[in-house]
Amino acid sequence: MSDKMIDVFFFGKKYKVPENLTIMTALEYAGYQLVRGVGCRNGFCGACATIYRIKGDTELKTCLACQTKVEKDMYVATLPFFPLVKQPYDIEKITPSQAIMMQLYPEIYSCVGCNACTKACPQGLNVMQYIAYAQRGEFDKCAAESFDCVMCGICSSRCPAGISHPQVALLARRINGKYLTPKSKDLENRVQEIKDGKFEDFIQVLMNKPLDEIKKLYETRDIEK
């Protein structure tokens, strides 16, 4: 741990913490036993959405607390729950066309193009762009552009049009994964072959061998390059 201590403000209160901690570990260093606003601690779950401002600066910035170092005179407030809109649907019954967006998330058509969402995204995603793709029913592009989304909801917290971006993107990705990308022939064949019992003898023979023989088979198996 670094010896250099800096002042930070959690929920308006001043604390001295080592300068090299993340916001999350600094909160703990200051004495907070976290229950909310923490999950993976590694940038994957989106539980630790956080807003901060540096003293003297008016701009509100956003980040993931587990992924961001504290700075001197940082004012921090966590945003551990953001009430997004999630519309239910039956993935088997929807059609992969633009109409589904109009039906489930019509508010995306009120986007004013302010780009606040993109500016706020801690994953550096072009959020406004993926919403534009969703509006046009270009689900493959929306899926690709939004793929790294951790669903923290920060973009939505800044959107004047009340859009729940990560839910829109998730719908697009599910449509893309299920309907738009080609099916894997190998996979379909293999599922059928297993159902037909094609591999059953093989595996039974293997499982019924004495352990010594299995060990030898393992040690001498050929390994694909």
Partner: protein, 534 residues
């Protein structure tokens, strides 16, 4: 950013050797070499880090010290503290834990028409599943078969897996992938739909399916969305702290704790599924961990107290490549896929010291040996050690852009600290990653307690004494679905008797009899990282 002089000097050597190292095919170890290496350097073999259990179903067997303390700990509640006749929830299937296994179970259970409740300690999806990067195995390639998958996993797990569980894992794997894809999970595919697959440590075929290096996140967010679509009742921030049995000793619900208000809730159910995941946050032997914040083995503890038998509770998986630097991400996972894609492990002199795709236990032991015995590790500013994982080799081999396309999360994680893994190697050391052992189940996912099912990382025996990469996401789906279906179908025939917490009193008596005086409350629920000021 690397500023330390020793590190910089070592990086120069790594760079100088890179071209040669990249094309080198290091030899693999034979069975004897591996055995000796493991026994000398793997943490599971350090005897004084384990103790014998003095009470409970596994009495006489050993377990890590930290786990023994919790397994033999004191309950957070008392037998007659609650009126069990007016439960707050009354359902068919109670699922404890909202990670991959619990959520897959919920989807299948509600599919049978059952009334399902998921109680989860953090938010649904704040779980190890969300963090899985590398991928998920299934033998669907033309040169592969379930039998080859079986052999790889059986050998990788030191021939200790329960055959009937492993059989289920490998034969239902392709269907699990198909199910996920059918729900909309995006897999890396070529234009014609062929899956892009890679090796993992110990695999003899390239059968790792991935969604870039967000494989678990992609699976978890899709499963969660689907569970919500289907109307599963989900209660976040609510941990199970004790199982309820009925007067015949069958599982019949749980005592829940609202993590925020401290309120207790009683959930009555016909069947219970434990899907509480791993134990990394117990920091066995002081190791850092790749696991999510709530990974404290709670399911094992409450099941044990109720009489469930554990299997292989003494074997843990230390992932060979946890981040050793910078300090802010100490212990965070560097996915095995980095090695699958071509990065090799290199010591401080720039020498490749092993084949990068040995099984995890062997690789971890080898890294520890390189640092501890051979003194060829690189010191970190915070006093730790590590070896290099030479990531720029990936682009030498796969061409520019491979890293951004295949492992964007890794690129992002290090770039936050000004390390460009396309150009600079990264420093790694083993991190506590997975609990190989857990609750013993049969092929229907039921434990020795009637009506108590288990799925996911909380199960012991699927992988034997060491798990291969990609078989765990797979088991959460295969066993999660199966547990969900079985628990729901079986619930139709269950009549719950009178609810009881008498087993915790009995357990307390055993404690006293055995002279156990520790005041440790269990389950642990959350680790405490608060600064210990006076």
């Amino acid at each position: 950013m690397y500023t330390d002089e020793n590190m910089l000097a070592s990086i120069e050597k790594v760079e100088a050797a890179r071209q040669n190292n990249a094309v080198l095919e290091p030899k693999r170890m034979d069975a004897d070499e591996k055995d000796t290496l493991l026994q000398t350097f793997h943490p599971d073999y350090i005897q004084n880090q384990f103790a014998k259990l003095e009470i409970g179903p596994n009495k006489g067997e050993k377990a890590p010290l930290e786990l023994v303390d919790l397994l033999q700990g004191k309950s957070r509640v008392k037998e007659n503290q609650f009126n069990l006749d007016n439960p707050d929830y009354d359902v068919d299937v109670l699922i404890i834990g909202g990670g991959g296994a619990g959520t897959a179970a919920a989807i299948e259970a509600i599919g049978t028409g059952a009334k399902v409740l998921v109680a989860t300690k953090l938010r649904m999806g704040d779980a190890n599943t969300m963090m899985a990067e590398g991928g998920i195995q299934a033998a669907d390639g033309p040169n592969d078969s379930p039998a080859i998958h079986y052999l790889d996993a059986y050998g990788g797990g030191h021939f200790a897996a329960k055959p009937e569980l492993l059989y289920k894992l490998v034969t239902e794997a392709p269907e699990a992938i198909q199910w996920l894809n059918g729900l909309g999970v995006e897999f890396d595919k070529r234009a014609d739909g062929t899956m892009v697959t890679t090796h993992g440590g110990g695999t003899s075929r390239k059968r790792m399916h991935a969604a870039k290096d967000y494989s678990g996140a992609e699976i978890m967010r899709t499963l969660r969305d689907e569970a919500i679509n289907r109307g599963v009742t989900i209660v976040d921030f609510t941990a199970a702290i004790e199982l309820l049995l009925d007067n015949e000793g069958k599982a019949a619900g749980a005592v829940l704790l609202n993590m925020e208000t401290g309120e207790h809730l009683i959930a009555k159910s016909k069947t219970v599924i434990i899907a509480t995941g791993g134990a990394g946050r117990l920091h066995y032997q002081g190791f850092p961990t790749s696991n999510h914040y709530g990974a404290t083995a709670d399911g094992l503890i409450i099941a044990y107290r109720a009489g469930a038998k554990l299997l292989y509770q003494d074997t843990l998986q230390y992932h060979p490549t946890g981040a050793a630097f910078p300090e802010q991400i100490f212990g965070a996972l560097v996915t095995e896929k980095v090695r699958s894609l071509g990065a090799k492990l290199v010591n401080k002199d720039g020498v490749v010291f092993m084949h990068p795709l040995e099984t995890r236990d062997v690789t971890a032991a080898s890294v520890i040996r390189e640092c501890k015995e051979r003194k060829m590790g690189i010191e970190t500013p915070s006093g730790g050690q590590g070896v290099w994982l030479d990531t720029p080799m990936i682009e030498l081999k796969g061409g520019e852009g491979t890293i951004e396309r295949r492992i964007p999360a890794m690129l992002r994680m290090f770039s936050k600290y000004d390390i460009d893994i396309r150009k600079e190697p990264i420093l790694v050391y083993p991190t506590l990653h997975y609990q190989n052992g857990g609750i013993d189940i049969n092929a229907d996912c039921m434990s020795n307690i009637e009506n108590l099912y288990v799925a996911g990382e909380a199960v012991g025996g699927i992988h034997g004494r060491n798990r291969l990469m990609g078989n765990s996401l797979l088991d959460t789906v295969v066993f999660g679905r199966d547990a969900g279906r079985n628990a729901a179908l079986h619930a139709k025939d269950v009549k719950v008797g009178k609810l009881s917490l008498h087993h915790i009193t009995k357990f307390e008596e055993e404690r006293t009899k055995a002279g156990i005086t520790s005041e440790t409350l269990s389950p642990k629920l959350l680790p405490s990282y608060t600064h210990k000021k006076k």
